[in-house]
């Protein structure tokens, strides 16, 4: 069974995000970049499935600038066997990414396509769903448990009301949630081995995908600064305070 895992390079979750002064986006110059944490979870799941003997090959894929090859190297250190880099220096919107990933699926024919449920940069939470729709294959989003048996996957999903368990036919698209697993530490020998694993380069053009997306970013702004909190000593004081603000 072949698993495809898509990984995205994003600003590291520890970095305090700064909006560019002209509001055109978020500053990334000299900022630490890492693999999207949800994609790490997807990678981890694929590697665990491989260790269990369910998956035999893991292919990592990314769509983005030349620098994203580092994110692919991280995926290879996790345990991907090889990687595909769809090189695109410009902005990549969810639908463009989805179309590129669908084109890669067309070549690779994976049985399982694992993605993070969203990327922590723009939090769009769309790519996995779009891929499934474009492929016309089943999808299971927000997975917190994945079990594969034969040509079916049983997936527990985190939904507002609690947990929902569904069974889907493979090939399928699964987007993973935070509680699915805890990604491993990258071992140093694996980090060095990753350097020698193959990375195949392609472009949106090669894949027949248009680079332009349908969305236009009008403005990026920082959230309003939080006003200073007040410490209250008693419940009565808290209730009075809330009433004062018209919240009760």
């Amino acid at each position: 069974m072949k698993a495809l895992v898509s990984v995205k390079r994003v600003v590291d979750y520890n970095v305090r995000i700064q909006v560019k002064p002209d509001g055109s986006g978020v500053a990334t110059d000299g900022v630490k970049m890492s693999m999207n944490p949800f994609d790490e979870i997807a990678m981890e799941e694929a590697v665990r499935l491989k260790e269990k003997g369910v998956v035999s090959e893991i292919v990592a894929v990314t769509v983005g600038s030349a620098k994203c090859v580092e994110t692919l190297r991280t995926a290879l250190a996790f345990g991907a066997d090889r990687a595909i880099h769809v090189v695109e220096e410009g902005e990549v919107q969810p639908l463009v990414a989805a179309k590129a990933l669908v084109a890669v699926c067309g070549k690779e024919n994976p049985d399982l396509f694992l993605l993070g449920k969203q990327a922590i940069d723009d939090d769009a939470n769309q790519t996995g769903q779009m891929v499934a729709a474009l492929l016309d294959r089943p999808q299971a989003t927000f997975a917190s448990k994945v079990e594969i048996a034969g040509t079916k996957a049983t997936v527990t999903r985190e939904v507002d009301a609690g947990l929902q368990t569904i069974e889907i036919d493979l090939p399928a698209v699964i987007t993973v949630d935070l509680r699915l697993n805890e990604p491993r530490y990258l071992k140093l020998p694996d980090i060095m081995k990753a350097k020698r694993k193959p990375v195949e380069n392609t472009t949106l053009g090669d894949l027949g995908v248009q680079a332009a997306g349908g969305l236009k970013i009008v403005k990026t702004a920082s959230p309003a600064a939080r006003s200073k909190g007040v410490m209250v000593k008693t419940v009565d004081e808290l209730i009075a305070g809330l009433k004062n603000k018209g919240l009760l």
Binding site: R73, Y185, L188, I191, M192
Partner: protein, 387 residues
Amino acid sequence: MQMTHEHEQIAETTRKFVAEQINPHLKDWERDGMWPAHEVLRAMGKLGLLGIAKPESVGGLGLDYSYQVAFAEALGTCDSGGLPMAIGVQTDMATPALANFGSAELQQEYLAPAIAGEMVAAIGVSEPGAGSDVAGIKTTARRVGDEYVISGSKLWITNGTQADWVCLLANTGNDTSGHGNKSLIVVPLDAKGVDRHQKLDKLGQRASDTAMIFLDEVRVPARNLIGEEGKGFIYQMQQFQHERLFLSASIVAAMERVIKDTATYTGQRKAFGKPLLDNQVVHFRLSELYTELEALRALIYRATDDVVAGKDATLLCSMAKLKSARLARELTDACLQYWGGQGFMWESSVAQFYRDLRLHSIGGGADEVMLEIISKRLGFVGKRRTY
């Protein structure tokens, strides 16, 4: 020194390990005056962190020393100073000579398990009567048949209460004052005649255990000799270069953190109607210290480049050791001042590093010893005097 993706990933794994497996326990270990060396090192060994620049034949990664410097810097994200130093003993103080000059057999017996994290190592040079003056050690190792019989005592031995073996410097010749009569010998610490019950009470670095070790007619196989008899002093001087560069790199992150913590604290603490940080004397001082820290980092990287290129890096390693130790004292003292009473509290991060980093001007060769080496290398004094 060029930070590649692989350097960054090694640092990342290290930082993650520190954040998840070390920092949550440090308060307890500081209080107990003890860290579970076997447990921590075993976990680090599994990740491949203990043999980055060691040969692949003993389970290392065989990478150049720049990767080790990336590791040392990342270790500096520990919430206190004891652990980076104690781990450094395992990777850069007790093992370089064994890796460079030990027989294959001796390496398999002691180095491979140290890299795997199965054995804890210590370095035994200093003695009650000789610290800076390494040549003045009194411990003797007499060759009797196939064995060395060792007697003497070693003081301030890091990891000493729990290490499995110590890389010991001893006199193997009759002349006890010279340089050519010393040898490095691997001594298993469960050997008969070893007493190391005395754990020492320290000003700082309290999570790291430090011991006095007595050796009374301890017998070890002659094959435990590292390299050649009589070359121990030279081997140890070379081994010191790794130790000193490691120590320098391992405290950069701590100093950076102290500056940032101080900016955060003084940015929030108000006096006379404005944050303390708004006083020019405070933010100028912090900026100046940060500038010095970056200059130190550049010096460390230059020394690393020389080590990687196989050049004699003694001058730059000594300078890095001196500057890092001096800056650590200046920086933690200056920052502590701006915290006021809160800085004097045991639990504050600035007090932690004020205590812990104080060691660096003493351990691994005191500042004055570095200055002596630097003066000689620059030709100001000694045999190579050129002025």
